[in-house]
């Protein structure tokens, strides 16, 4: 490493830290060492322009990614959570859409102590909503089926039982599955419709998110359907999946005829693509 490169590295390391952690006095005290003052602004005041810009840009991104959370928490609380998260998980990717990657895990990790026996609480609602909004962002950006031709549901109805059991459907690349404590999808829909919703009552909610013809879609499934869909990975047969899901004890028991209807519906709804069975 040359001396000049070492100086550049030192300066950039300091400036990045000073911009992202304005509360750390030792970092701010170095401003005069690195920066010139102007006629009207001293070094600290010039540094503060970048500090405000950094904070504003990232918070603006959080507001754009989380309209539901913004409604539920308000600016002050969301910004406080976001800034604390960013302090521990600063951005690493070139896409500003990904500044909140890991935010749901952060909220879960730092949640207040709770008693699981009393059931889900407000914190669970916030975490569920965070996961939903991040998942929707992923669905909107991921590869979809728009440029491919999926099997049509009529095919599934025409398959023999043996063919159906041998088929190996797989979730589409933009499929995201969420098991929530609250019906946060209804809450978010109401926020988007400007209905000023209140926090709903807790209810186990099984969601499948996908994109169909470039439109985002959220489906609420029965637990047994969700369990079945989550195991359709294209590598194992429907027979194997049914055997596993049956052991979980959900109702209705996933018979072959129910599975035929569900897989057909999953296809229509853009949740799975099938690997057609051998004839």
């Amino acid at each position: 490493m040359t001396m000049s490169f070492a100086h550049l590295l030192e300066l950039q390391t300091w400036l990045q830290a000073a911009i992202s952690a304005p509360e750390q006095a030792p970092l701010q005290a170095r401003a005069e060492h690195y920066l010139q003052s102007s006629e009207s602004l001293d070094a600290a005041a010039r540094l503060a322009i970048y500090q405000r810009s950094y904070r504003a840009r990232l918070l603006q991104s959080f507001h754009a990614i989380f309209p539901g959370l913004l409604h539920a928490l308000g600016h002050v609380a969301l910004d406080a959570f976001a800034l604390d998260f960013l302090q521990h998980s600063p951005p690493h990717t070139s896409s500003v859409n990904r500044v909140a990657d890991g935010f749901a895990e952060y909220l879960h990790r730092t949640r207040p102590a709770f008693d699981s026996a009393t059931g889900p609480d407000w914190t669970d609602f916030v975490i569920d909503l965070t996961r939903l909004e991040l998942a929707l962002l992923e669905v909107s950006e991921a590869a979809g089926l728009e440029l491919t031709s999926a099997s049509v549901p009529e095919n599934v109805r025409q398959w023999s039982d043996a063919q159906l059991l041998r088929c190996q459907p797989r979730g589409v690349p933009c499929l995201r599955l969420l098991a929530c404590h609250y019906p946060v999808h209804d809450y978010l829909r109401a926020v988007r419709a400007d209905d000023s919703p209140r926090i709903p009552h807790a209810r186990p909610t099984w969601l499948a998110l996908t994109r169909l013809h470039y439109r985002l879609a959220t489906r609420e499934l029965a637990p047994v359907q969700w369990q079945l869909l989550s195991r359709l990975n294209g590598a194992i047969t429907l027979a194997e999946v049914l055997e596993t899901v049956t052991t979980l004890g959900f109702r209705p028991v996933p018979s072959l005829e129910l599975a035929r209807i569900w897989v057909g519906n999953f296809l229509v709804q853009g949740l799975v693509a099938t690997a057609a069975p051998e004839q």
Partner: protein, 313 residues
């Protein structure tokens, strides 16, 4: 041998920044418009509707890719996966050129999502030139580098920005994207003569000009891209095109974005300045007269930092 004007790249006319909020109407109406500049990062990882829309826009309008994350001045290694993504996107949409900024965005694997200034000295110049050459090798096309707006200067600076840019462009054999608004914002913030800056830029390497709005924040200007172009910036643009000649000109509008018609109408104001630049030769002393306008009482009240500003000699 001197490079061809604009590095042989075409004059695309008057364009606007491609913004997601305009895409639905754009895809419905296909308005008559010279060209668009897209922010590369908005499309690198997207395989959804936005990317689909971009492909349709690319079939109907000339496009240019403008990046904000190359981080050409960072002490981190160049991000090879980012470069590979840029190259793939360029292969898909066939832009006339690819640009980014003279800046760094982060170190130690982090990004601030900001265009941070570099110390302007010999060692930074060597560092940046070497990296531009690598990027041009990877992308197999000239890179076009934009002057950023800035709010700090470093004690390690040993040369003005215009000298850095001119030497960088020559040594790296790259093009320049001259952001006239950034020149003006930085000139107020640092107290230099924006006319002198424009005069020092190697005209034959300027491939594109940026225009944008800025905001007055008391004792400094902020490059906000949230409104129309200010009168001082238009005058500086007039001076730039008089010196450089007709060149692709683009308006950036990124906050409080109005309808596409409004953005387009704003950039079309450049026509008058382009006409003047070709029909009215600048008389001797015109540059200093235009500069004097900035120091006139009305301008001083709008931008108090200019009052008593010391211009670099």
């Amino acid at each position: 041998m001197a490079p061809a004007a604009r590095l042989g790249l075409p004059n695309l006319g008057l364009g606007v920044g491609l913004r997601s909020v305009h895409l639905p109407r754009l895809l419905r109406e296909w308005p008559a418009l010279d060209w668009f500049e897209l922010v590369s990062e908005n499309y690198l990882e997207c395989q959804g509707w936005r990317r689909h829309a971009l492909q349709q826009v690319a079939e109907r309008y000339p496009l240019v890719m403008h990046g904000v994350s190359l981080s050409i001045g960072s002490s981190d290694p160049l991000d090879s996966s980012y470069l590979a993504g840029l190259k793939r996107l360029a292969a898909d949409i066939n832009p006339h050129w690819v640009s980014d900024h003279l800046c760094w965005t982060g170190v130690a694997g982090r990004t601030t999502h900001d265009l941070l200034p570099l110390p302007l000295n010999e060692s930074t110049l060597t560092h940046v030139v070497a990296r531009i050459r690598v990027v041009q090798e990877v992308l197999e096309r000239p890179l076009i580098i934009e002057n950023p707006s800035s709010y700090v200067r470093f004690r390690a600076d040993t040369m003005p920005e215009w000298e850095f840019l001119a030497r960088m462009a020559q040594d790296a054999e790259c093009g320049l994207l001259l952001d006239v608004n950034n020149v003006y914002v930085s000139s107020v913030n640092h107290g230099f003569d924006p006319w002198r800056y424009i005069d020092a830029i190697p005209a034959e390497r300027v491939v594109q000009i940026h225009l944008a709005g800025h905001r007055h924040c008391g004792n400094y200007l902020l490059d906000t891209h949230d409104g129309p172009v200010s009168d001082p910036v238009w005058r500086l643009y007039g001076h730039a095109v008089r010196r450089i000649g007709p060149v692709s000109t683009l308006l950036e509008w990124d906050d409080h974005i109005p309808e596409l018609d409004v953005v387009h109408t704003e950039v079309l104001k450049a026509r008058a300045w382009l006409t003047r630049s070709t029909t009215e030769p600048m008389p001797d002393g015109a540059a200093s007269a235009a500069q004097a306008e900035l120091s006139a009482p009305d301008a001083v009240s709008a931008y108090p930092l200019l009052a008593g500003a010391q211009f670099e000699t």
